[in-house]
Amino acid sequence: MMTPTPETIERDFKRSMLACLPSLRAFAVSLCKRHDYADDLVQDTIMKAWAKKESFEHGTNMKAWLFTILRNEFYSQARKSGREIQDSDGYFTEQLANNPGQHGVLDLGDFKAALEKLPDDQREAIILVGASGFAYEEAAVICGCAVGTIKSRVNRARTRLAEMLKISGDADFGPDAHSLSVTSRTFART
């Protein structure tokens, strides 16, 4: 293999960055829940990344590097603006008012609404591992925490999503009088 010249490294850097943008932006929207803010965040990330590109090791994972910068930027801006950072402690999930999952079809809008109700740390964990294509180990590096922490956040996110979306069998019937009476009978027996 030829040693890359500074020019090819430079070109590769820009090209890899461009290639990562769709996923980086999707991650930003998932974190911020808002497109306008997400786009500002991506712009800040591009500038930060460009400014410190000497610190990027050629041939390593550009996507993970960019995600880390974006995530740090997101939390540091949140802290500066005094916006509350949601974490799992003391957070309680409410069930969606409507009853999605009818006939086994889950609407994407309902799913998005449920996802947005997750605490930030759980949402980013399940996005990184379940959608952005990172391994648990990579997600742990991006979030600066232990692999076990990522795993438990992903598990809790899954459980909460399932709860909120109520995508169990009883969603097919809806919370009508019949299922309510069955539920109370079940509880009465135990």
Binding site: L18, P22, S23, R25, Q43, M47, I126, G130, L165
Partner: protein, 65 residues
Amino acid sequence: MKDNQTRGRTKPELTGAYAEIPKKLKAYYDSLQDEAIPDRFLDLLEKLDEAEKAAQTVDALKELE
């Protein structure tokens, strides 16, 4: 015990529900990824690149002096 039996019976559907989450998650993320990249990002990268090249040229000229 009764409670466990009830849970056992609903398990196949629950598995289905859990299988639904990763699919929806991917669909949600893909829908975001498929959105067109705003031009401002491409413009920004071009500008950063040009600014850097211009700075390098200035440096090179300084060295010549």
